[in-house]
Structure formats: C-alpha cells, structure tokens
C-alpha cells in the first residue's frame, strides 16, 4: 500500500526543517550551547545579527556556529534580561539566509509549528507541534507569549518557532510543563528596532 500524502508530508517537512536549520545557529559561551536565529539587520556595514535569549549568554562575547560548520566570534550589542532577548553582531564570511517574520495573517489556534534547537548537543533538532492558545484581544494588547503544544528541551532556547511556510512566529524561550513559550516574532522585531540601530562605519 502506498501513502502518497504521508510521503509528501514527510518530504515537505524535511525540506522545511532543512531551510530553518540554515537560519538557526549555535550560540556558545560557557556552558551548554543555546540556539539563535539569523536576523536581517539591514545594516550597511556588512555585519550580521543573531537574535537569541539573554539567558543563553554568559558575558559579552560568544562563538557562533552556522549550520554549515562555519565559526565566528560575535559581540553582544543589545541585551534585555526582562524580555529575555539579546542581539549579537558578527562578520559573516558568506551569504546568509535570514529569518522572515510572519506579520500576517494572524496566528490561528491549532496551526502547525516547527521548533529548531540543539538539545543536549544534538545540533539542528526539530520538533513539531501546534499553537496551543491565542490570546484574545480583550485580554491584553499585544500577547506576551506565543504558547505552543511543542515538546522542547534545554538547548532550544533562542531558536526559531516557525510556521509551515518557514516564517518566524517566535523565539523559543521557556518551557512551562509540556508547553513552549516563545517571544512573539513581532515583539522581537520591535525590540530589535528599538535597541539596535546599526551605525554606518
């Protein structure tokens, strides 16, 4: 018996994960590696930006390892412990694939999402889940967290939570029981704009 749909699903999932891995880096300071996403800083100075969780970093410098094994030194240029976000700058030696933020349509409850991270040194691991809860507008203005029914582990912190088209939905930050909490991509975008204005050299 053939299962053409399941086979296609498997192929598409593998392709989506492959693409997301190219936008995901390892962020190493002391201790176990965290994850980070390659962010298009629109800067003219040739440097590139990595967004990760503040709690992943110890100190002001980190080693970035890209999916192809390229290693670079990176400097922390912004950090917000309260929002648990940090931005690092590094000089890329090649063209990078940056994450694309999903601005619209709004997230739907039950939508499939993919998380990429490096749990226990397993580089570029993927896990699949669905959006667990979408905050209703009357509860608060902008939602503080994206809540997903995705099983994460330490090492996913700072990595991407993406939709099935590969667009960034959030930055994975915490586990709450078997729920994943991610900083919404729109909030990350606003934070980057606020805290990191690239200066032309």
């Amino acid at each position: 018996m053939t299962a053409p749909m399941t086979a296609r699903l498997a192929r598409e999932l593998a392709a989506a994960v492959d693409e997301l891995r190219r936008m995901t880096v390892q962020v190493r300071t002391r201790g176990p590696a965290g994850a980070g996403v390659l962010w298009d800083s629109e800067g003219s100075n040739g440097s590139a930006l990595v967004i990760t969780n503040a709690h992943v970093l110890r100190g002001d410098q980190a080693t970035i390892e890209l999916n192809d094994g390229t290693v670079a030194r990176a400097q922390v240029v912004a950090r917000d412990a309260k929002r648990d976000l940090a931005a690092l700058e590094f000089e890329p030696s090649r063209e990078l694939l940056f994450v694309v933020v999903r601005d619209s349509p709004p997230l739907r409850l039950g939508e499939v999402v993919i998380a990429i991270g490096h749990p226990g040194g397993l580089v570029g691991a993927a896990t699949l889940g669905i959006i667990h809860r979408v905050e209703q507008e009357r509860e608060a203005g902008a939602p503080r967290w994206i809540r997903a029914d995705v099983r994460l582990a330490p090492g996913f912190s700072g990595g991407p939570l993406a939709d099935t088209t590969g667009r960034l939905v959030g930055v994975n930050t915490m586990m709450q029981g078997s729920l994943a909490l991610a900083v919404p991509a729109a909030a990350v975008e606003a934070w980057v704009r606020r805290s990191h204005t690239p200066v032309a050299r």
Partner: protein, 304 residues
C-alpha cells in the same frame, strides 16, 4: 503554492475553530475554571470531578459572555455531569458516533480554562472494548490518548481532524492518565441525567475479597474455578443482609455466571436490576447454598 504540510496546518486550525464554537468554560470550583461542551441545544456536558458545587455555577460562552447555568445531574461513576443553560443560542458540535477512532489517529483535545480556547494534539494510543470504571459504570469503549494534558483538559472535547467530537476528556477515571469518554456513553448518560438527575445503579450492600477455594472443597462441590469472592463486609439492613447473605459466605456465582473478581458483581448490577431478584450461589459451612437476592437502588457514592 499550497503544500500538504500547509493544508494539514490549515485543516487542523479549521477543525479547532469549528469545534471550539461549542466549548465553554465552567466556573464551579476554586481557582482555574474547567471546560464543557455544548452537547445539545441548551445542554452543557462537563466532568463531575471539576464541579465542586451544585449552586452558583456560571459558564463562559465562546463569545466571552458569562451566564448562569443549573446543574441537571451528575454521575460520579462515569465522571460526567449535565448543566442547563436558558435562552442561549450558539452552535453544538458535530458528534462522530458512526466510526470509532483508530489507534494512531491524529486527534486534538480542546479546553477553555478561561476566556481563551486551548488546544493540544496527539494520537489515540489505545482503543479497546467496553470497560468498567472503579465505581462500576460501564464505558462503551476504551480510548487512551498520547497527548499532553493542560489546564482545562477535563470536560473538553476530543476532536478528529475534521472537527468532529469523539468524546469528552477526563483525567479522573484512570489515575491521571488521559482518557476519553466516548460519544455513545456521553449520549446515554446525558439522556438519563436529564430525565432523572442521577444514574440509577443496582447494589447489594456487600464488600468482597478474592479468595482461593481449597482444592479438596472445589473438587467436592464440583466448582468450575478455584477463585471466588469472600464476603468481608455486609451493610446492615442492605439488600444482601435483608435477603439472608452472611458475612463469611463465599460467593461463587450470580445468575449462573462465575464471579471471581469484584468487577464481575458490578457487571450484574445495571440500573435495570433494581428490584429484580438475582440467583446467587455461595459456599456456607462447606456446603453449597443457593439464595435469591434482590438488589436495591444504590445510594449516592456507595460501592457494590
């Protein structure tokens, strides 16, 4: 370009959206509200264990309004409860009764532990025939789930990929392991709760313990098995006491069927047995004895 992966995502979100229109939050305990399903027009199905009071119950509807609800009845043995709403019109879900779920089928559990709907996904991990809860109620089929339980899981619906309701979820029937009470059982229990407010169950007023009958005695009495049930407690004035069963009697058969587990007795005590005599065979003083026992209606929260 629409891929299979994207279609899957869209269909799951569609299923959640459609079934979610019938999922409500129930405020009948302290702290976090529990979930319920608008099963029939004006009737909300919820789980018994999440309703800790009979009065002052309110329900938050999918549109966000909170309205009062009255408790129509509850059944601890199936962990189901029925609530009535007056003057509210909102959708009831489509309920899948014709095709039972299969092991490995993709399913979603919905809840509303507050104004917002929640969803978790997984697969049906086990499907089996009828089973009995620890309080003796028969559930039409066993549905075990491989998915994460969150606040609001109990009382929420398990839905399929098309948004059809397969049953009501509860974490209280199998020591915290998530199970789904199938739609057929919910239908049956809700109908009876709306008619009578409780589920009638017959009872004898005995407590039993499994014992091994000595081989010589089993041979002498020509028994089919060697395990029987020793009566270790007898409710004074209860049906068994009244009809002459004694403490220390060893129960062998009810209505011609061997009883070797307390659940075998429960199986003979459906609501329709109240007031209808049963034939019981016991060993008393080394001799076989046949008695007639007429079950009574079980008072609330009492065992067999």
């Amino acid at each position: 370009m629409s891929t299979v992966l994207q279609s899957l995502s869209t269909e799951l979100a569609d299923a959640v959206q459609s079934a979610g229109r019938a999922v409500v939050a129930i405020h009948a305990r302290r702290r976090i509200p529990a979930s319920g399903v608008h099963w029939r027009p004006g009737v909300i199905v919820a789980t018994h264990h999440t309703i800790s009071r009979d009065e002052n119950i309110t329900v938050t509807l999918p549109d966000g309004t909170t309205v009062p609800a009255s408790l129509a009845g509850r059944d601890p043995s199936t962990d189901l409860a029925a609530l009535k709403l007056v003057g509210q019109s909102f959708p009831t879900p489509s309920i899948r009764l014709d095709t039972p779920p299969k092991v490995g089928e993709l399913v979603i559990a919905l809840g509303r532990p507050g104004p917002s709907l929640t969803a978790s996904w997984g697969v049906v991990s086990r499907v089996d025939g009828p089973w009995r809860t620890w309080q003796g109620a028969e559930i039409d089929s066993l549905l075990r789930l491989d998915l994460a339980i969150y606040d609001g899981f109990s009382g929420g619906p398990l839905i399929d990929g098309a948004g059809r309701v397969l049953g009501i979820n509860t974490s209280a029937l199998a020591r915290g392991v998530p199970v789904t009470i199938p739609g057929a059982t919910v239908e049956r229990v809700v109908t009876e709760l709306l008619e009578r407010g409780t589920i009638r169950r017959a009872y004898l007023g005995i407590g039993t313990q499994r014992v091994r009958v000595p081989e010589s005695l089993a041979r002498k009495l020509e028994l089919q098995g060697d395990v029987a049930l020793l009566i270790v407690s007898l409710e004074p004035g209860g049906p068994a006491d009244r009809d002459g069963l004694l403490l220390g009697d060893v129960l062998l058969e009810i209505e011609g069927a061997v009883v070797s587990d307390p659940a075998d007795i429960l199986a003979k005590l459906g609501g329709d047995r109240v007031g209808r005599p049963l034939t019981a065979r016991v060993i008393r003083g080394g001799q076989m004895k046949t008695l007639q026992v007429t079950p009574g209606e079980r008072p609330k929260s009492r065992a067999a």
